[in-house]
């Protein structure tokens, strides 16, 4: 049988899926082992046990100076910033994006501006944000908003414009006002795509969060890894990178599950008809 027609069984698929992860860990363990044979105090590739020990300390042993559980406070601070930034960007996408997509006058007024605005590399605005808002929370959240809102607004506007004209006309013939069309047709049809937009925006969202924290912060996941970089503390950095990745993965899955739960009709399409 041709390879394109060979479907792996469930257990084989699981095994194949795990394989690259296991391979990465094993490769790391071997490389680390040989480096430490040469120099038992090697900092670049610490052993997995050492990293787990450090991670445990960050997670469960209160910091000697502040008395905080560092991993917990770092995670909470970072997620609050990311959450606030993405929430504001989502709100902007809902209001501005839908207005641009649905109302031609607003589209004429704002679409060219938004198209130009979204081309500004967000990180270049960071000094401006620091000057205007200072080094506190506002400028970090503003950077995330700046980096994610324009693309979210544009994709939301596009999602509204992708609603077949026939449906809008049908709603008009059923006596709907513009407001009612927004509530019952445009927003419900756009929401699943908005959730997809959030999932995509979280990728640059994390980048801007970590960047802002690296440059000016006294807490957060990005702050921590750039702080310990000075001591070549790979035993902190590597577990933190894995932890950040895990958080990003969980948030993504959560949003997908949410979408399936709230918008079952969207996920029915194509499966059964």
């Amino acid at each position: 049988m041709r390879i394109i027609n060979q479907k792996p069984s469930r257990s084989l698929a699981l095994f194949l899926g795990l394989l690259p992860f296991v391979a990465l860990v094993v490769t790391y363990a071997i490389a680390s082992h040989y480096r430490r044979l040469d120099n038992p105090a090697d900092k670049l590739l610490p052993s997995i046990e050492q990293m787990m020990g450090t991670f445990y300390r960050y997670a469960f042993v209160p910091d000697r100076r502040s008395g905080d559980l560092l991993l917990l406070t770092d995670t909470i601070d970072s997620l609050l910033r990311l959450g606030a930034g993405i929430a504001i960007a989502t709100l902007l996408a809902l209001i501005v994006g839908i207005a641009i997509g649905f109302i031609p006058v607003v589209r004429s007024a704002l679409a060219p501006f938004l198209a130009s605005f979204s081309l500004i590399p967000p990180i270049t605005v960071l000094p401006i944000l620091f000057i205007i808002f200072g080094l506190g929370e506002v400028s970090k959240i503003a950077l995330i908003v700046f980096g994610t809102a324009p693309i979210m607004m544009r994709s939301t506007a596009q999602a509204v414009m992708d609603i077949p004209r026939e449906m809008i006309i049908k709603a008009e013939t059923l006596g709907a006002s513009v407001w009612q069309m927004l509530l019952r047709l445009v927003v419900p049809q756009t929401m699943p795509k908005l959730i997809s937009a959030i999932r995509l925006a979280l990728v640059p969202g994390w980048i801007f969060l970590i960047s802002a924290e690296a440059i000016a912060s006294t807490s957060g996941l990005g702050y921590r890894i750039f702080l310990v970089r000075r001591y070549l503390a790979m035993d902190v950095i590597l577990p933190y990178v894995v932890w950040i990745t895990l958080l990003a993965f969980l948030i993504d899955r959560l949003l997908l599950a949410l979408s399936i739960k709230i918008f079952p009709w969207r996920h029915l399409e194509g499966e059964s008809l």
Binding site: P164, E166, K170, E172, L174, Q180, L185, P264, R266
Partner: protein
């Protein structure tokens, strides 16, 4: 029938796209209760004509009167529509689709009914659900229904708003022949029950004869070989099918076949 029974009158309507005429000199008046079928070759403006009745497009010249008054410039609740595709809302269940027009009417701010008002509204659609045979599927989403069921839902949804005229744009074009026959029966019984005025664009000549009481044929009558776009189409035949018996339909088809440019490709 008397003069004041006219529901639609079209006066010297023309439609141009970028100075290219698509329709010209369209003049008809249609009486209340007519089932008007519209046929013609592709690109002969029959769908354009329907879209002008809907105000989805506006005539370049001339005017269309509904009950003696000029049509508004946008689609409104006095004209119902069923398209071939995208005719129901995919994010609402069968029940939700049918409730929508009542919700628009009764809840201007929220657009949604709750509690007691919803119960009453649901009772009103029960009979409709029964009639279109979708009682068992009331909680399903359109994508879980067959094409025929979706179109039945679309027709019922449009009729619940009780429009003055119902416009159908090739509503059965994507359905299997067997399903089409069922749809014909449903449509005819609804038309008789409600004493509706219906305009229906179709590709299928037999369908047009079977369902219609009046058939409009759109075609180009003037041709300039050096400038194929110089002239638009107009109504070339206006057949009163109700007055001829079923056997006469055969004659009409013969007569129809003699038209200068064949109007049917199939």
């Amino acid at each position: 029938m008397s003069q004041n029974d006219t529901i639609i009158s079209v006066k010297n309507v023309a439609k141009f796209y970028d100075q290219v005429p698509v329709l010209e000199r369209v003049n008809i008046s249609v009486e209340r209760g007519t089932f008007c079928t519209i046929v013609g070759a592709s690109g002969c403006g029959k769908s354009t004509f329907l879209r002008m009745l809907l105000s989805q497009e506006l005539p370049t010249r001339g005017e269309i009167l509904l009950d003696g008054e000029k049509l508004p410039d946008e689609p409104t609740a006095d004209r119902g529509i069923v398209f071939q595709k995208y005719s129901v809302f995919p994010h609402l269940t069968v029940k939700g689709n049918l409730l929508l027009s009542q919700e628009f009417e009764q809840a201007p701010m929220s657009g949604k009914l709750y509690g007691n008002a919803k119960t009453i509204a649901l009772e009103k659609i029960d009979e409709t659900l029964e009639k279109i045979g979708l009682s068992a599927a009331r909680d399903k989403f359109p994508s879980q229904l067959s094409g025929g069921m979706q179109q039945r839902l679309a027709i019922a949804q449009a009729l619940l708003k009780e429009p003055k005229i119902l416009l159908l744009d090739e509503p059965f074009g994507a359905l299997d022949p067997g399903i089409r026959l069922d749809m014909h029966e449903l449509l005819l019984s609804l038309w008789e029950d409600l004493n509706m005025t219906i305009f229906m664009v179709t590709h299928d000549l037999n369908e047009a004869f079977k369902l219609g009481t009046r058939m409009l044929v759109f075609d180009k009558i003037r041709h300039d070989p050096h400038a194929p776009n110089a002239f638009g189409a107009t109504i070339t035949y206006d057949l009163n099918i109700a007055s001829c018996s079923q056997s006469n339909a055969q004659d009409a088809e013969m007569y129809f076949a003699k038209s200068p440019n064949s109007t049917e490709e199939t």
